[in-house]
């Protein structure tokens, strides 16, 4: 049954089943057969006949079976479901990464349940071993499927379209017309039509003398599909490298102050597990002026942090000199780090004059508690009221103030809540304490509150409370004074570097392009046969979107027929 084509190729006219092979591609319309050919559920890892001793094969039998199961589409589907399902608790339970405070609240509310949940990583879902297990299995399954599939596709890219099936009229769409002329000239003309429409074509001569054209189009579908999945792997690598070698930090800076890129300068610093401190780039950023603009109802309209920065070696010797408008959505991008404006608030300027006339002035940041920026904070003075003539340090005369800063105090009523986030009529309401602040113990503690234990134990005693407007002075019972001298604004910035970011972005781009190609390009085949007795038959098939292929087929057939002179008396 075989014949020799002009090119010397031996051809066995196949049936239409073979015409179909390799045509269907995932994600749409890959049948089990194509699955097998394309890698998913490949029957045997290296199955090219019995190679190696039979014992080894028997030993490998079980792993191979598992590998087949793991790389099957069904397993991939189940893993996809598990992945979606596993992400759900990440939104129902508070997550440490997002909000540590909420996790603590949860612990307080559910003292019995929380530790159990914690053991199950319910508060670190996306860093949990079970979440990682699912996505790693999924990616192993993906790679296991992808590699053979790339091989198959690469082969298909260089291979010529398959020989025409014997019965073209059995293909999903077909047409025929009687023609006159030399079969090979007619076939060449048909081939010309297809090539102009950018089909890949090959002409073969069959035993009977009939000349066939096989044409195929739409390889980009599988190319796109593979690109999408390879890019998915790239995305994972990018995400992983970001978490290994990246770092992030946050720092609060009051107007007039600056911070430099050192671990010590940051309020919090979280390096990736493979990141070394030495990798921090050098730069300093100074906050000159923070401007918040608000609507009448208090809704914020815009935040602008006017900063100066300096980077590189100069940062060690000079002050920041390059101006920049740091805004939400407008980060400061430096070499090796980005600076993002993420929060802001007020810091009252508090001036305490002690029994010996010494003045202590600080601008402690008060943290916003509500949308009107009612802010809470503390001003702790462990070194005041010490007799300058004495060398003995007394701890019972230290001072501490805690309370609220209100950007706009209500005109009447108790000054508890601010009525606007804008500093129109700023006031502080403070409670004063005298005694041992507990700071001498050397234990590090929050600068935004006082040690409640010291108050409870009586070591720190209240000396009254007071509301102060800007400039007002509060004279305490021992004659010392506290002045609310003014206020400044502060910004909180997030600083960080993610070395995987670029890879993630590029991968995402490839994913999108690949996805569009794999969902829009249609793989299809056309076959033309011109027999010696003057019959032109055209058949075609497409697995996806047969409606559109039918239209395309019809227009191609019309064009092919136009190139062929019709037989006398027939039409």
């Amino acid at each position: 049954m075989s014949t020799v084509t002009p090119s010397g190729e031996t051809v066995t006219p196949p049936d239409e089943q073979d015409a179909l092979t390799g045509l269907a591609t995932a994600p749409e319309d890959a049948t089990a057969r194509e699955d097998r050919r394309a890698g998913r559920t490949e029957p045997d890892g290296g199955g090219r006949g019995p190679s190696g001793p039979g014992r080894l094969n028997a030993l490998l039998e079980e792993p191979r079976r598992w590998w087949r199961i793991l790389t099957s589409m069904r397993t991939a589907l189940v893993l996809l479901f598990l992945l979606a399902l596993a992400a759900v608790p990440g939104s129902t339970f508070p997550q440490r990464d997002l909000n540590q405070n909420k996790v603590e609240e949860y612990f307080a509310e559910h003292p019995k349940l929380a530790p159990v949940l914690d053991k199950l990583s319910a508060f670190d879902v996306f860093a949990s071993p079970w979440f990682a297990a699912i996505y790693l299995l999924l990616f192993i399954s993906l790679v296991g499927c992808l590699v053979p599939r790339i091989r198959v596709h690469a082969r298909a890219m260089v291979k010529r379209p398959p020989a025409a099936p014997r019965h073209l009229d059995r293909l999903p769409v077909s047409a025929s017309a009687p023609v006159t002329g030399d079969p090979s000239a007619l076939a060449d003309a048909a081939r010309g039509v297809l090539r102009r429409a950018r089909w890949r074509t090959v002409v073969r001569t069959e035993e009977s003398g009939a000349v066939t054209v096989s044409a195929e189009k739409g390889y980009l579908r599988e190319t796109g599909n593979l690109a999408f999945h390879v890019a998915l792997v790239g995305l994972l690598v990018g995400v992983a490298s970001g978490s290994l070698w990246g770092w992030k930090a946050s720092v609060l800076t009051v107007e007039g102050n600056a911070f430099c890129d050192t671990v010590q300068a940051y309020d919090s610093f979280s390096p990736g597990s493979r990141m070394r401190d030495a990798a921090l780039p050098s730069f300093c950023v100074q906050l000159d002026d923070f401007q918040g603009t608000y609507l009448a109802n208090g809704q914020p309209e815009d935040f602008l942090a006017k900063v100066k920065y300096i980077q590189g070696d100069r940062a060690f010797t000079q002050d920041p000199d390059t101006e920049y408008d740091l805004k939400v959505n407008h980060p400061l991008r430096l070499d090796g780090a980005n600076v993002y404006l993420i929060n802001h608030g007020y810091a009252p300027v508090l001036r305490y004059t002690d029994r010996y006339g010494r003045v202590f002035e600080e601008t402690p940041a008060f943290l916003p508690q509500d949308v009107q920026l009612t802010s809470e904070g503390a001003f702790v003075l462990p070194d005041v009221n010490q007799d300058p003539k004495s060398t003995v340090r007394t701890t019972d005369v230290q001072m501490a103030f805690t309370g609220f800063f209100l950007p706009t105090a209500p005109p009447s009523g108790p000054p508890i809540r601010s009525i606007s986030p804008e500093a129109k009529d700023p006031a502080v309401t403070l409670v004063g304490y005298r005694g041992d602040t507990g700071l001498d113990s050397g234990i590090a503690r929050s600068v935004y509150s006082i040690d409640q234990n010291q108050v409870d134990s009586g070591a720190l005693k209240s000396v009254g409370s007071k509301k102060l407007s800007v400039g007002e002075v509060w004279t305490l019972d021992d004659g010392t004074t506290l002045q609310f001298a003014g206020y400044r604004e502060f910004m909180t910035v997030q600083v960080g570097h993610d070395p995987g970011e670029m890879l993630v972005l590029v991968s995402a781009g490839f994913m999108l392009v690949g996805l569009i190609a794999s969902l829009t390009v249609r793989r299809r085949r056309m076959f033309v046969r011109v027999t010696g007795d003057g019959e032109l038959t055209v058949g075609g098939l497409a697995r996806t979107d047969p409606d559109r292929f039918a239209d395309e087929f019809q227009s191609l057939v019309e064009r092919i027929e136009r190139t062929a002179p019709a037989k006398e008396g027939a039409s």
């Binding site: 589907l77 047409a175 047969p546």
Partner: protein, 333 residues
């Protein structure tokens, strides 16, 4: 016109749109109830027949399908269907006007809060449906589309409504143009995809019950509805095409969101609740596309996954916005 007048105009147009959609729903419903249906779609499911001379490979007309009535929707019922289309077009135009007026009133793009987001999704869904039903003979199914559109839009106009106003600073970015609009467009497309998936499931369930020999006493609710629906094949293909169209847009929306998050929140992905659910939806829709290519999963199982996908989208829109606080809390409520 002043901003206040524009805002009023926008609100009036919203009412017009909801009324027009309701009228459209009734028009479509009359066609569905009284028109002769079934054929149209079975014709759509057999495209190969349109081919030239000597065409006709082995056609797989499903043997299980009941004999199709002889003529497509005809007579007076069809006029109601056309009337439904006209009303839906008017509704969509009114809604576009509503959004435009709001955009001008607030001096920004009209998708800055949840009310506007749902509104955009509804108008996209309606337009998608109008396009689909113009290209396929499925007009008489319009009722099934108008119903969720009216419900979603009515809910948006009442519960989610907030006055036109400027954006919060975090939203003040050109990415709002791209990320939110594409996310909203995906919801609109998936809405139609979800409706068609449900219809497919009904029809497929009906076919299966008939084939199982229970034809003597016709399948009851809900699968009895299937008798009046187009052939399962055609529905399934339309469902797929809508999802294949929506999925890249949804992917694009998520990627844009990530790029924006990098600029605004210092990281491209942080498992914020909204991000988590966007991821869940993406994975479920990806599972749908894969299921459709897997033996044993194609057909009703795949369609059920598509429905599940839309459920996750709705959870993300309603449950996450209200029940869970996160960085995406922009509903303005």
């Amino acid at each position: 016109m002043t901003d206040a007048q524009l805002a009023d105009l926008s609100n009036t147009l919203l009412v017009v749109a909801i009324l027009a959609y309701t009228v459209a729903m009734f028009g479509y419903a009359i066609e569905f109830a009284f028109g002769r249906k079934g054929v149209v779609a079975s014709r759509a499911a057999a495209p190969a027949k349109r081919v030239l001379v000597g065409a006709g490979g082995p056609e797989q007309e499903e043997a299980t399908a009941p004999p199709a009535p002889p003529a497509p929707t005809a007579g007076r019922a069809a006029w109601f269907g056309r009337f439904g289309v006209a009303a839906a077009v008017i509704g969509a135009l009114a809604q576009l006007g509503c959004l435009a007026a709001r955009g001008f009133a607030a001096g920004r793009v009209p998708w800055g809060n949840m009310y506007e987001f749902v509104s955009v999704a509804c108008v996209v869904g309606t337009i998608t449906w109008l396009v689909v039903s113009a290209r396929r003979p499925v007009r008489y199914l319009g009722m099934f589309v108008m119903l969720p559109v009216v419900l979603l839009l009515g809910l948006a106009g009442t519960v989610l409504y907030v006055d036109a106003g400027p954006l919060m600073p975090a939203l003040n970015s050109y990415w709002l143009w791209i990320h939110v609009s594409t996310a909203s467009i995906s919801v609109g497309i998936y809405l139609i995809g979800g409706v068609l998936s449900v219809l497919y499931l009904l029809r497929e369930g009906y076919d299966r019950r008939v084939a199982a020999g229970r034809a003597a006493n016709a399948p009851g609710f809900p699968f009895g509805v299937g008798r009046h629906l187009p052939a399962a094949d055609g529905l399934e293909r339309m469902t797929f095409r809508l999802h294949a169209f929506g999925f890249p847009i949804w992917t694009f929306a998520i990627i844009c969101g990530a790029i924006w998050a990098e600029a605004a929140w210092s990281r491209y992905w942080g498992w914020d609740p909204k991000e988590t659910w966007a991821f869940i939806s993406w994975v479920v829709y990806a599972a749908y596309l894969h299921a459709r290519a897997t033996t044993g999963w194609r057909g009703p199982r795949a369609a059920a996954i598509a429905v599940l996908g839309f459920v996750t989208m709705m959870i993300n829109l309603y449950v996450i916005n209200f029940a869970v606080s996160g960085l995406h809390s922009y509903s303005g409520l």
